[in-house]
Symmetry: C2
Subunit: 477 residues, 2 copies
């Protein structure tokens, strides 16, 4: 008798027969009904124990969290709430779970408590749904790029360059921490370190991805990136995963087309394949909303929000137009924005991005042609000399989801921009080589994976969408 | 007129018509024939320039490495060596490539030279083939696990635990490197560091993967791992990618079944989908072999070696049997092994592993039940009290490809093993929790991704199968 998963037993085309299953007890009620889960699906299978013919000692060990092996007959259920159930013939306790000390009881736990027990939190419905969706999103992303002729590349995690300028970096070292070697000037001598130079954890794989785009054509990265800023908020992680496609011969308009098609395709995949987990999380949010004041409740339900992205054309609006709209908007005039929009050149905040998407355009928005001075050195300068071919994609509820640009492909312009920011050409000799030998228009974008998981699951704290979050003062597990 | 890729134009079902393509010049011969590549395939497309009606200045700029935009007619080729070619109507130089300084000329470059130009080396046939295969292998791996009900999980890169014992670690810190804060004992005070404790780069995601296996059932990791050993060899990287599946309710025999099925399935995918790149690399090896003395030449061709794994059952042999075979083997008796096998308990070297696979059994081999003292603390102790349920899978040419085990699921036994190795229980309280609450038999294995890419591409230096290798004294790019 082969072993089954709960998912298989609950599928519509299962044949009623003798079955054999292992899993963990979620609840045991009336000394009779075991709700068994094995992670293969959100749902439990009901297993009916013949308590009159099961010894007392065993019955006592059927507790929440215990691992059990059940053999029995799969039959149509007599009760309400499930189509099928297992009439248990034998139940064997594989691993006990002491109800006095087991942290995950069948009751509501705060997310904060579950974060402290992150090694056990996928034993709850909410976190198992979130992590199954995280996995499904990862696969949908790999599948999209594979289907569209992109090559996946692993850019380095340890980097000798700190020129990317995307944020503060963590140092990676093997030097004696207490007594590092010093050079004659009394400065730490990294030439004696493991890599013979100062090294950090990467903040982005983009620059390296460009090297491969300029030979393989279409590439993407999907790997961990790091920020050492001391930001203890619900939107920041010190370690997070990023997706960065990079494409040769693609201009900014093509980049927008790619990003829009990509986002719609990935979300459609999830809607098609992960309905159960989405519906569970949607209901969770509806319940949560009931406890909130009217004004803080969501405008859209979870699945509605996904369809909002899939069904609408993304509105393409220049930064300059957006500033005009925001300056003349009601919340700006009535001083409802926390950050008022007065002049061209200011960076947008989440409240502005959400206003454009949710109130003004009522569709996802792509802002483009940003002021050069608020964007990175590698973005292509427009002929006006003051804006760059950058784009940000704004989603409802969350604001910026994607940031990208056409890259500066002209050697002399790039050198000037680096000089202005005092970025050493010697640091990025290889990046400049791409502009010396066979340069061409090319573009790409970055997507913070955890932002996407938050959007899809409706979780409001980024620490709840990654297995073991790293944040200031926290590297547990 | 939409843009095409070289791969599309060379496909069998292309319709002859006006076409439009962008790519890089590989060669330009007789002032007439451009071999154009865009990374979409190993192959170039021949573009025939009407040199009599093209201005001299443009012709001079058609050099190796230049980026060009060509419009013309796709026709059946008149010449030998290609089925179709493009009769060029217009050619536009997008980015020049100065033949005086461009490093990648149409001639043989040493791999060492190309490593120093790792940002340009995918502009060669060998490295573009290697990196396309690396990408295809990544996708085949994700697809296998997705198709088999596994969830992909991202285990943390920065870890507060150094209990894994798999090797030396890199320190991650934000402390002032020159003047770190010291505590009253004069020791570096990591409680003042970013995470409030000492942190390192992970050597394995296995322990964290076990937490998810014990709730979601079947999970796997695919992420970067690190070793700070000062090993400057052709087989070691300081930063490499690892795949680690972990499955609840699976014993060692099931683990072997999984690993064997997984390896065969992934290699079959590659053989089916990436024939061109494989054949190119096979021919490269044949040419290389001709320059070697007879004894150093490969026994098997590249594709033959992949089929050797796919077509043979993996022979399962206990460590104890293997030691007997090796002790009585010719190379041991004639002292041809560098490390002679004298007694039970010694660890095997690559030469022994290869002897078992290539000479003795003539098939992939799974060794199991290793002496406990040469394996990690978390492997399940057998009833004999001296061996553990470990397995190593050995492949031809390369030796160990996979290492795995059934995990110790018994709390008391695990605690004893940790105590013997002086691993602090407080460090791994969460790992012990898995044995306290609903413990069960479970197993997993680890596969070094770069070893697999070496096996599939036939590359002999591990630095040549990852985009930007990190090794002692080297963190360039």
């Amino acid at each position: 008798m082969t072993s089954h998963t709960v998912s298989e037993l609950l599928s519509k085309d299962i044949v009623f027969s003798e079955v054999n299953i292992k899993g963990w007890v979620r609840t045991f009620r009336a000394n009779r009904f075991v709700a068994l889960n094995d992670g293969s699906t959100l749902h439990n299978i009901q297993c009916v124990v013949d308590f009159e013919n099961t010894d007392e000692a065993t019955l006592k060990r059927i507790t929440t969290g215990a691992a059990v092996h059940i053999e029995g007959d799969l039959v149509e259920s007599q009760g309400k709430g499930q189509r099928v159930e297992i009439i248990v013939k034998t139940i064997q306790i594989l691993g006990d779970s002491d109800p006095e000390t087991y942290p995950i009881q069948p009751k509501k736990h705060s997310f904060e408590f579950l974060r402290e027990n992150a090694h056990l939190r996928t034993r709850t419905n909410t976190f198992s749904a979130v992590m199954r969706l995280r996995s499904a999103l990862s696969f949908a992303i790999h599948k999209y790029f594979n289907d569209h002729g992109f090559y996946y590349m692993h850019t380095p995690i340890i980097t000798g360059s700190d020129a990317e300028g995307a944020g503060e970096m963590f140092k990676v070292s093997k030097l004696d921490a207490k007594n590092p070697p010093l050079d004659e000037k009394g400065v730490v001598d990294y030439s004696k370190d493991f890599f013979g130079k100062e090294t950090n954890l990467t903040v982005s794989g983009q620059l390296e991805a460009e090297t491969y785009a300029m030979s393989l054509g279409k590439v993407y990265t999907f790997g961990p990136t790091f920020r050492a800023e001391n930001s203890n908020t619900s939107r920041h992680l010190s370690e997070f995963w990023m997706i960065e496609p990079e494409v040769a011969f693609l201009d900014l308009a093509g980049n927008m087309d790619l990003a829009e098609d990509f986002m719609k395709s990935v979300l459609s995949d999830i809607l098609k394949n992960n309905r159960d987990d989405l519906e569970f999380l949607e209901n969770r949010l509806i319940e949560e909303d009931k406890t909130k004041p009217q004004l803080e409740r969501s405008d859209m339900r979870l699945i509605e929000k996904l369809n909002f992205v899939i069904d609408n054309n993304f509105k393409r609006v220049s930064y300059t137009e957006a500033i005009d709209i925001l300056r003349n908007s009601k919340p700006n005039k009535k001083k409802k924005f926390k950050y008022l929009i007065n002049e061209w050149g200011t960076d947008l905040q989440s409240e502005h991005e959400r206003f454009l998407v949710e109130k003004h355009f009522k569709c996802p928005v792509i802002l483009f042609d940003y002021p050069a001075h608020i964007k990175a050195f590698y973005m292509r300068l427009n002929d006006d000399g003051k804006t760059v071919r950058a784009m940000d994609i704004l989603f409802p509820g969350i604001g910026e989801m994607v940031g990208g640009s056409q890259r500066e492909e002209r050697l002399e312009v790039l050198k000037q921009k680096m000089a202005a920011l005092q970025i050493d050409e010697k640091e990025l000799w290889w990046y400049l080589d791409l502009r010396k030998y066979g340069t061409a228009v090319h573009s790409g974008f970055g997507l913070g994976f955890e932002r996407l998981v938050m959007f899809v699951t409706g979780m409001s704290n980024i620490r709840d969408v990654i297995p073991f979050p790293r944040t200031p003062q926290n590297a547990e597990f």
